[in-house]
Symmetry: C2
Subunit: 224 residues, 2 copies
Protein backbone atom coordinates (compact mmCIF):
# COMPACT_ATOMS: atom_id res chain seq x y z
CA UNK A 1 0.00 0.00 0.00
CA UNK A 2 1.23 3.50 -0.85
CA UNK A 3 1.21 5.68 2.24
CA UNK A 4 -0.27 8.68 0.50
CA UNK A 5 -3.50 10.30 -0.73
CA UNK A 6 -5.06 9.58 -4.12
CA UNK A 7 -7.84 11.18 -6.17
CA UNK A 8 -10.03 9.04 -8.45
CA UNK A 9 -11.83 10.57 -11.44
CA UNK A 10 -15.10 8.87 -10.79
CA UNK A 11 -18.15 8.50 -13.07
CA UNK A 12 -20.12 5.77 -11.30
CA UNK A 13 -19.58 3.32 -14.19
CA UNK A 14 -18.03 -0.14 -14.18
CA UNK A 15 -14.49 0.96 -14.93
CA UNK A 16 -14.12 3.86 -12.53
CA UNK A 17 -15.93 1.99 -9.74
CA UNK A 18 -13.43 -0.84 -10.10
CA UNK A 19 -10.68 1.80 -9.97
CA UNK A 20 -12.20 3.32 -6.83
CA UNK A 21 -11.90 0.03 -4.97
CA UNK A 22 -8.46 -0.60 -6.49
CA UNK A 23 -7.41 2.80 -5.09
CA UNK A 24 -8.79 1.82 -1.68
CA UNK A 25 -6.58 -1.27 -1.72
CA UNK A 26 -3.47 0.55 -2.98
CA UNK A 27 -3.55 3.91 -1.15
CA UNK A 28 -3.99 5.16 2.37
CA UNK A 29 -6.59 7.85 1.76
CA UNK A 30 -8.97 8.00 -1.22
CA UNK A 31 -10.82 10.99 -2.69
CA UNK A 32 -13.20 10.96 -5.66
CA UNK A 33 -14.56 13.64 -8.01
CA UNK A 34 -17.43 13.43 -10.50
CA UNK A 35 -18.50 15.88 -13.16
CA UNK A 36 -21.79 17.18 -14.43
CA UNK A 37 -21.04 18.27 -18.01
CA UNK A 38 -24.49 18.11 -19.53
CA UNK A 39 -24.54 14.31 -20.02
CA UNK A 40 -28.02 12.96 -20.74
CA UNK A 41 -27.93 10.57 -17.79
CA UNK A 42 -27.07 12.71 -14.80
CA UNK A 43 -28.38 9.86 -12.64
CA UNK A 44 -24.85 8.42 -12.92
CA UNK A 45 -23.58 11.19 -10.65
CA UNK A 46 -26.03 10.20 -7.91
CA UNK A 47 -25.09 6.54 -8.30
CA UNK A 48 -21.45 7.56 -7.98
CA UNK A 49 -22.23 9.48 -4.81
CA UNK A 50 -23.96 6.46 -3.23
CA UNK A 51 -21.10 4.08 -4.02
CA UNK A 52 -18.51 6.58 -2.77
CA UNK A 53 -20.44 6.88 0.51
CA UNK A 54 -20.62 3.11 0.79
CA UNK A 55 -16.87 2.90 0.15
CA UNK A 56 -16.18 5.58 2.76
CA UNK A 57 -14.51 7.85 0.23
CA UNK A 58 -14.58 11.65 0.24
CA UNK A 59 -16.70 12.66 -2.79
CA UNK A 60 -17.29 15.90 -4.67
CA UNK A 61 -19.25 16.83 -7.82
CA UNK A 62 -18.17 19.68 -10.06
CA UNK A 63 -20.16 21.42 -12.78
CA UNK A 64 -18.58 22.03 -16.17
CA UNK A 65 -21.55 22.62 -18.51
CA UNK A 66 -19.31 24.23 -21.13
CA UNK A 67 -17.49 20.94 -21.85
CA UNK A 68 -20.63 19.21 -23.10
CA UNK A 69 -21.60 22.16 -25.31
CA UNK A 70 -18.19 22.79 -26.85
CA UNK A 71 -17.92 19.83 -29.19
CA UNK A 72 -20.76 18.26 -31.12
CA UNK A 73 -21.52 14.83 -29.60
CA UNK A 74 -24.40 12.51 -28.91
CA UNK A 75 -23.73 12.07 -25.18
CA UNK A 76 -24.82 15.62 -24.42
CA UNK A 77 -26.94 16.58 -27.44
CA UNK A 78 -30.49 15.29 -26.98
CA UNK A 79 -31.24 15.74 -30.70
CA UNK A 80 -28.51 13.30 -31.80
CA UNK A 81 -28.84 9.52 -31.97
CA UNK A 82 -25.84 7.69 -30.54
CA UNK A 83 -23.65 5.68 -32.87
CA UNK A 84 -24.22 2.00 -32.16
CA UNK A 85 -20.92 0.95 -33.68
CA UNK A 86 -17.52 2.48 -34.27
CA UNK A 87 -17.74 4.02 -37.77
CA UNK A 88 -15.23 2.86 -40.38
CA UNK A 89 -13.92 6.40 -40.81
CA UNK A 90 -13.59 8.91 -38.02
CA UNK A 91 -14.72 8.77 -34.41
CA UNK A 92 -18.05 7.60 -32.95
CA UNK A 93 -20.39 10.53 -32.22
CA UNK A 94 -20.33 9.53 -28.54
CA UNK A 95 -16.83 11.06 -28.41
CA UNK A 96 -16.91 14.25 -26.31
CA UNK A 97 -13.83 16.09 -27.60
CA UNK A 98 -11.33 16.77 -24.84
CA UNK A 99 -13.44 15.17 -22.12
CA UNK A 100 -10.75 13.13 -20.38
CA UNK A 101 -8.32 15.99 -20.75
CA UNK A 102 -10.68 18.34 -18.91
CA UNK A 103 -11.64 15.71 -16.32
CA UNK A 104 -8.03 14.99 -15.46
CA UNK A 105 -6.84 18.60 -15.64
CA UNK A 106 -9.57 19.80 -13.28
CA UNK A 107 -8.87 16.84 -10.99
CA UNK A 108 -5.19 17.81 -11.00
CA UNK A 109 -5.86 21.38 -9.85
CA UNK A 110 -8.29 20.07 -7.22
CA UNK A 111 -5.68 17.53 -6.05
CA UNK A 112 -2.79 20.00 -5.89
CA UNK A 113 -4.85 22.29 -3.65
CA UNK A 114 -5.18 19.38 -1.22
CA UNK A 115 -1.60 18.16 -1.44
CA UNK A 116 -2.57 15.09 -3.51
CA UNK A 117 -0.10 13.89 -6.17
CA UNK A 118 -1.65 10.61 -7.27
CA UNK A 119 -4.57 10.54 -9.71
CA UNK A 120 -6.47 7.51 -11.00
CA UNK A 121 -8.50 7.20 -14.19
CA UNK A 122 -10.32 4.16 -15.55
CA UNK A 123 -9.38 4.60 -19.20
CA UNK A 124 -8.33 1.53 -21.15
CA UNK A 125 -6.63 1.22 -24.50
CA UNK A 126 -7.69 -2.40 -24.82
CA UNK A 127 -11.43 -1.84 -25.37
CA UNK A 128 -11.15 1.82 -26.20
CA UNK A 129 -13.96 2.18 -28.77
CA UNK A 130 -11.83 4.49 -30.89
CA UNK A 131 -11.58 7.32 -28.35
CA UNK A 132 -8.11 8.85 -28.68
CA UNK A 133 -8.18 10.20 -25.12
CA UNK A 134 -8.23 6.65 -23.68
CA UNK A 135 -4.84 5.73 -25.10
CA UNK A 136 -1.69 5.30 -23.07
CA UNK A 137 0.31 7.80 -25.14
CA UNK A 138 -2.26 10.50 -24.43
CA UNK A 139 -2.25 9.83 -20.68
CA UNK A 140 1.56 9.89 -20.49
CA UNK A 141 1.73 13.09 -22.50
CA UNK A 142 -0.95 14.66 -20.30
CA UNK A 143 0.98 13.65 -17.19
CA UNK A 144 4.01 15.58 -18.39
CA UNK A 145 1.89 18.56 -19.45
CA UNK A 146 0.15 18.77 -16.07
CA UNK A 147 3.46 18.62 -14.23
CA UNK A 148 4.86 21.43 -16.38
CA UNK A 149 1.67 23.50 -16.12
CA UNK A 150 1.67 23.59 -12.34
CA UNK A 151 5.26 22.80 -11.35
CA UNK A 152 4.05 19.79 -9.40
CA UNK A 153 4.76 16.08 -9.62
CA UNK A 154 1.46 14.42 -10.47
CA UNK A 155 1.43 10.66 -11.04
CA UNK A 156 -1.39 9.38 -13.25
CA UNK A 157 -2.43 5.79 -12.59
CA UNK A 158 -4.39 3.73 -15.13
CA UNK A 159 -5.01 0.29 -13.62
CA UNK A 160 -7.23 -0.78 -16.54
CA UNK A 161 -5.06 0.46 -19.42
CA UNK A 162 -3.86 -2.95 -20.62
CA UNK A 163 -6.66 -5.26 -19.53
CA UNK A 164 -9.92 -6.03 -21.31
CA UNK A 165 -13.47 -5.99 -19.96
CA UNK A 166 -13.37 -9.63 -18.77
CA UNK A 167 -10.19 -8.89 -16.83
CA UNK A 168 -11.77 -5.76 -15.38
CA UNK A 169 -14.57 -7.97 -14.02
CA UNK A 170 -11.92 -10.30 -12.65
CA UNK A 171 -10.25 -7.38 -10.90
CA UNK A 172 -13.59 -6.30 -9.39
CA UNK A 173 -14.06 -9.86 -8.16
CA UNK A 174 -10.59 -9.93 -6.59
CA UNK A 175 -11.44 -6.64 -4.89
CA UNK A 176 -14.63 -8.21 -3.51
CA UNK A 177 -17.00 -5.90 -5.38
CA UNK A 178 -18.20 -7.92 -8.38
CA UNK A 179 -21.84 -7.82 -7.27
CA UNK A 180 -21.67 -4.15 -6.33
CA UNK A 181 -20.19 -3.25 -9.72
CA UNK A 182 -22.67 -5.48 -11.53
CA UNK A 183 -25.80 -4.15 -9.78
CA UNK A 184 -25.08 -0.59 -8.68
CA UNK A 185 -23.08 1.02 -11.50
CA UNK A 186 -24.26 2.71 -14.69
CA UNK A 187 -22.46 2.18 -17.99
CA UNK A 188 -25.43 1.96 -20.39
CA UNK A 189 -25.79 4.71 -23.03
CA UNK A 190 -29.55 4.50 -22.47
CA UNK A 191 -29.23 5.27 -18.78
CA UNK A 192 -30.33 1.90 -17.38
CA UNK A 193 -28.30 0.85 -14.30
CA UNK A 194 -26.82 -2.62 -13.68
CA UNK A 195 -27.02 -4.95 -16.67
CA UNK A 196 -28.48 -2.03 -18.70
CA UNK A 197 -30.46 -2.04 -21.94
CA UNK A 198 -28.35 -4.88 -23.31
CA UNK A 199 -28.05 -3.58 -26.87
CA UNK A 200 -26.07 -0.31 -26.82
CA UNK A 201 -22.30 -0.61 -27.58
CA UNK A 202 -21.45 0.00 -23.94
CA UNK A 203 -23.81 -2.71 -22.65
CA UNK A 204 -22.56 -5.19 -25.26
CA UNK A 205 -18.94 -4.65 -24.24
CA UNK A 206 -19.76 -4.83 -20.53
CA UNK A 207 -21.99 -7.90 -20.75
CA UNK A 208 -19.75 -9.85 -23.12
CA UNK A 209 -16.88 -9.22 -20.73
CA UNK A 210 -18.92 -10.37 -17.77
CA UNK A 211 -20.07 -13.58 -19.49
CA UNK A 212 -16.52 -14.32 -20.58
CA UNK A 213 -15.18 -13.82 -17.05
CA UNK A 214 -17.97 -15.83 -15.39
CA UNK A 215 -17.41 -18.71 -17.85
CA UNK A 216 -13.64 -18.66 -17.14
CA UNK A 217 -14.30 -18.60 -13.42
CA UNK A 218 -16.74 -21.52 -13.61
CA UNK A 219 -14.25 -23.54 -15.71
CA UNK A 220 -11.50 -22.78 -13.19
CA UNK A 221 -13.68 -23.84 -10.25
CA UNK A 222 -14.62 -27.05 -12.03
CA UNK A 223 -10.93 -27.88 -12.45
CA UNK A 224 -10.07 -27.08 -8.85
CA UNK B 1 0.82 34.85 -45.00
CA UNK B 2 -0.54 31.42 -44.13
CA UNK B 3 -3.64 30.67 -46.17
CA UNK B 4 -5.59 29.24 -43.28
CA UNK B 5 -7.76 30.07 -40.27
CA UNK B 6 -6.35 30.86 -36.83
CA UNK B 7 -7.84 31.20 -33.34
CA UNK B 8 -6.34 33.65 -30.83
CA UNK B 9 -6.80 33.14 -27.08
CA UNK B 10 -7.63 36.74 -26.33
CA UNK B 11 -7.80 38.55 -22.99
CA UNK B 12 -7.82 42.20 -24.08
CA UNK B 13 -4.39 42.81 -22.51
CA UNK B 14 -1.20 44.14 -24.10
CA UNK B 15 0.24 40.75 -25.02
CA UNK B 16 -2.78 39.06 -26.54
CA UNK B 17 -3.84 42.26 -28.37
CA UNK B 18 -0.42 42.38 -29.99
CA UNK B 19 -0.89 38.70 -30.88
CA UNK B 20 -4.31 39.44 -32.37
CA UNK B 21 -2.84 41.92 -34.83
CA UNK B 22 0.15 39.63 -35.46
CA UNK B 23 -2.36 36.90 -36.36
CA UNK B 24 -4.12 39.32 -38.72
CA UNK B 25 -0.84 39.90 -40.52
CA UNK B 26 0.15 36.21 -40.63
CA UNK B 27 -3.14 34.38 -41.35
CA UNK B 28 -6.02 34.66 -43.76
CA UNK B 29 -8.91 34.49 -41.31
CA UNK B 30 -8.74 35.32 -37.60
CA UNK B 31 -11.01 34.20 -34.76
CA UNK B 32 -10.72 35.17 -31.09
CA UNK B 33 -12.08 33.73 -27.83
CA UNK B 34 -12.15 35.26 -24.36
CA UNK B 35 -13.04 33.69 -21.03
CA UNK B 36 -14.97 34.79 -18.00
CA UNK B 37 -13.51 32.70 -15.16
CA UNK B 38 -14.40 34.84 -12.18
CA UNK B 39 -11.58 37.37 -12.62
CA UNK B 40 -12.06 40.53 -10.56
CA UNK B 41 -11.87 42.77 -13.60
CA UNK B 42 -14.42 41.42 -16.03
CA UNK B 43 -14.21 44.77 -17.82
CA UNK B 44 -11.26 43.23 -19.71
CA UNK B 45 -13.67 41.01 -21.62
CA UNK B 46 -15.64 44.02 -22.87
CA UNK B 47 -12.43 45.78 -23.86
CA UNK B 48 -11.41 42.64 -25.76
CA UNK B 49 -14.76 42.61 -27.56
CA UNK B 50 -14.38 46.24 -28.67
CA UNK B 51 -10.86 45.72 -30.01
CA UNK B 52 -11.87 42.50 -31.79
CA UNK B 53 -14.72 44.39 -33.46
CA UNK B 54 -12.37 47.18 -34.48
CA UNK B 55 -9.96 44.56 -35.91
CA UNK B 56 -12.79 42.87 -37.82
CA UNK B 57 -12.21 39.58 -36.02
CA UNK B 58 -14.88 37.02 -35.11
CA UNK B 59 -15.15 37.09 -31.30
CA UNK B 60 -16.73 34.85 -28.69
CA UNK B 61 -16.80 34.83 -24.88
CA UNK B 62 -17.06 31.59 -22.90
CA UNK B 63 -17.91 31.15 -19.23
CA UNK B 64 -15.78 28.85 -17.07
CA UNK B 65 -16.54 29.96 -13.50
CA UNK B 66 -15.14 26.69 -12.10
CA UNK B 67 -11.58 27.53 -13.17
CA UNK B 68 -11.37 30.58 -10.93
CA UNK B 69 -12.79 28.73 -7.94
CA UNK B 70 -10.68 25.56 -8.24
CA UNK B 71 -7.31 26.86 -7.14
CA UNK B 72 -6.72 29.45 -4.43
CA UNK B 73 -5.51 32.68 -6.07
CA UNK B 74 -5.72 36.43 -5.70
CA UNK B 75 -6.97 37.16 -9.24
CA UNK B 76 -10.38 35.63 -8.52
CA UNK B 77 -10.58 35.72 -4.71
CA UNK B 78 -11.75 39.16 -3.57
CA UNK B 79 -10.56 38.49 -0.01
CA UNK B 80 -6.90 38.03 -1.04
CA UNK B 81 -4.39 40.83 -1.58
CA UNK B 82 -2.30 40.35 -4.73
CA UNK B 83 1.41 39.68 -4.36
CA UNK B 84 3.27 42.77 -5.51
CA UNK B 85 6.47 40.84 -6.17
CA UNK B 86 7.49 37.32 -7.06
CA UNK B 87 8.09 35.59 -3.71
CA UNK B 88 11.51 34.04 -3.09
CA UNK B 89 9.96 30.63 -2.60
CA UNK B 90 6.94 29.32 -4.48
CA UNK B 91 4.64 31.04 -6.96
CA UNK B 92 2.99 34.47 -6.73
CA UNK B 93 -0.60 34.26 -5.47
CA UNK B 94 -1.75 35.76 -8.78
CA UNK B 95 -1.08 32.32 -10.34
CA UNK B 96 -4.39 30.67 -11.32
CA UNK B 97 -3.44 26.97 -11.41
CA UNK B 98 -4.02 25.42 -14.80
CA UNK B 99 -5.38 28.61 -16.33
CA UNK B 100 -3.45 28.57 -19.61
CA UNK B 101 -4.00 24.83 -19.90
CA UNK B 102 -7.79 25.29 -19.69
CA UNK B 103 -7.77 28.36 -21.93
CA UNK B 104 -5.85 26.55 -24.67
CA UNK B 105 -7.65 23.21 -24.29
CA UNK B 106 -11.08 24.82 -24.58
CA UNK B 107 -9.84 26.90 -27.51
CA UNK B 108 -8.61 23.69 -29.16
CA UNK B 109 -12.01 21.97 -28.95
CA UNK B 110 -13.68 25.16 -30.20
CA UNK B 111 -11.18 25.38 -33.06
CA UNK B 112 -11.47 21.72 -34.10
CA UNK B 113 -15.24 22.08 -34.39
CA UNK B 114 -14.65 24.87 -36.91
CA UNK B 115 -11.83 23.20 -38.83
CA UNK B 116 -9.18 25.50 -37.34
CA UNK B 117 -5.74 24.00 -36.66
CA UNK B 118 -3.71 27.07 -35.70
CA UNK B 119 -3.93 28.55 -32.21
CA UNK B 120 -2.16 31.66 -30.87
CA UNK B 121 -1.36 32.52 -27.26
CA UNK B 122 0.49 35.55 -25.92
CA UNK B 123 2.52 33.75 -23.25
CA UNK B 124 6.18 34.67 -22.86
CA UNK B 125 8.96 32.92 -21.03
CA UNK B 126 11.08 36.07 -21.06
CA UNK B 127 9.07 38.14 -18.57
CA UNK B 128 7.12 35.25 -17.16
CA UNK B 129 6.73 36.33 -13.51
CA UNK B 130 7.29 32.78 -12.31
CA UNK B 131 4.16 31.27 -13.90
CA UNK B 132 5.07 27.74 -15.06
CA UNK B 133 2.29 27.71 -17.67
CA UNK B 134 3.96 30.50 -19.63
CA UNK B 135 7.06 28.45 -20.39
CA UNK B 136 7.97 27.07 -23.78
CA UNK B 137 8.33 23.46 -22.53
CA UNK B 138 4.78 23.55 -21.18
CA UNK B 139 3.34 24.89 -24.44
CA UNK B 140 5.17 22.27 -26.54
CA UNK B 141 4.06 19.47 -24.23
CA UNK B 142 0.49 20.76 -24.31
CA UNK B 143 0.61 20.86 -28.11
CA UNK B 144 1.44 17.16 -28.22
CA UNK B 145 -1.17 16.33 -25.56
CA UNK B 146 -3.93 18.17 -27.43
CA UNK B 147 -3.06 16.42 -30.68
CA UNK B 148 -3.20 13.03 -28.95
CA UNK B 149 -6.40 13.88 -27.05
CA UNK B 150 -8.37 14.67 -30.18
CA UNK B 151 -6.50 12.99 -33.00
CA UNK B 152 -6.02 16.33 -34.69
CA UNK B 153 -3.00 18.33 -35.75
CA UNK B 154 -3.12 21.55 -33.75
CA UNK B 155 -0.26 24.02 -34.12
CA UNK B 156 0.32 26.33 -31.16
CA UNK B 157 1.93 29.68 -31.99
CA UNK B 158 3.63 31.83 -29.35
CA UNK B 159 4.92 34.97 -31.10
CA UNK B 160 6.00 36.57 -27.80
CA UNK B 161 7.73 33.56 -26.21
CA UNK B 162 11.30 34.79 -26.60
CA UNK B 163 10.89 38.56 -26.61
CA UNK B 164 10.66 40.92 -23.65
CA UNK B 165 8.11 43.65 -22.97
CA UNK B 166 10.07 46.36 -24.82
CA UNK B 167 10.24 44.10 -27.89
CA UNK B 168 6.51 43.39 -27.58
CA UNK B 169 5.89 47.13 -27.79
CA UNK B 170 8.19 47.25 -30.81
CA UNK B 171 6.15 44.49 -32.45
CA UNK B 172 2.92 46.41 -31.74
CA UNK B 173 4.51 49.48 -33.34
CA UNK B 174 5.57 47.47 -36.43
CA UNK B 175 1.99 46.21 -36.66
CA UNK B 176 0.71 49.80 -36.54
CA UNK B 177 -1.16 49.41 -33.26
CA UNK B 178 1.14 50.92 -30.63
CA UNK B 179 -1.36 53.63 -29.67
CA UNK B 180 -4.28 51.21 -29.69
CA UNK B 181 -2.43 48.79 -27.40
CA UNK B 182 -1.24 51.61 -25.15
CA UNK B 183 -4.65 53.26 -24.72
CA UNK B 184 -7.30 50.59 -25.19
CA UNK B 185 -5.96 47.44 -23.47
CA UNK B 186 -6.13 46.37 -19.83
CA UNK B 187 -3.14 44.72 -18.14
CA UNK B 188 -3.31 46.37 -14.68
CA UNK B 189 -4.08 44.10 -11.70
CA UNK B 190 -6.14 46.96 -10.29
CA UNK B 191 -8.39 47.07 -13.36
CA UNK B 192 -7.33 50.47 -14.72
CA UNK B 193 -7.10 50.50 -18.55
CA UNK B 194 -4.27 52.00 -20.61
CA UNK B 195 -1.25 53.08 -18.56
CA UNK B 196 -2.97 51.59 -15.47
CA UNK B 197 -2.37 52.23 -11.78
CA UNK B 198 1.37 52.39 -12.36
CA UNK B 199 2.43 50.47 -9.27
CA UNK B 200 1.18 46.86 -9.55
CA UNK B 201 3.72 44.29 -10.90
CA UNK B 202 1.89 44.14 -14.22
CA UNK B 203 1.89 47.93 -14.71
CA UNK B 204 5.56 48.15 -13.75
CA UNK B 205 6.54 45.51 -16.31
CA UNK B 206 4.37 47.08 -19.02
CA UNK B 207 5.46 50.67 -18.40
CA UNK B 208 9.16 49.90 -18.03
CA UNK B 209 8.98 48.03 -21.34
CA UNK B 210 7.22 50.94 -23.01
CA UNK B 211 9.72 53.51 -21.73
CA UNK B 212 12.63 51.33 -22.81
CA UNK B 213 11.18 50.88 -26.29
CA UNK B 214 10.30 54.57 -26.72
CA UNK B 215 13.82 55.57 -25.64
CA UNK B 216 15.39 53.12 -28.11
CA UNK B 217 13.11 54.39 -30.87
CA UNK B 218 13.99 58.02 -30.12
CA UNK B 219 17.70 57.20 -30.10
CA UNK B 220 17.36 55.38 -33.42
CA UNK B 221 15.47 58.28 -35.00
CA UNK B 222 18.10 60.72 -33.77
CA UNK B 223 20.79 58.64 -35.50
CA UNK B 224 18.85 58.36 -38.74
Amino acid sequence: MIDDKVLVVYSGGQDSTTCLFWAKREFKEVYAVSYRYGQKHEIEVEMARKIAEKAGVSFEVMDIPLIGRLGHNSLTDATMVMDQEVPEKGLPNTFVPGRNMFFLSIAAVYARERGIRHLVTGVSQTDYSGYPDCRDAFIKSLNVTLNLAMDYQFVLHTPLMWIDKAQTWELADQLGVLDLVRNETLTCYNGIPGDGCGHCPSCKLRNEGLQKYLAQKAAREKLA
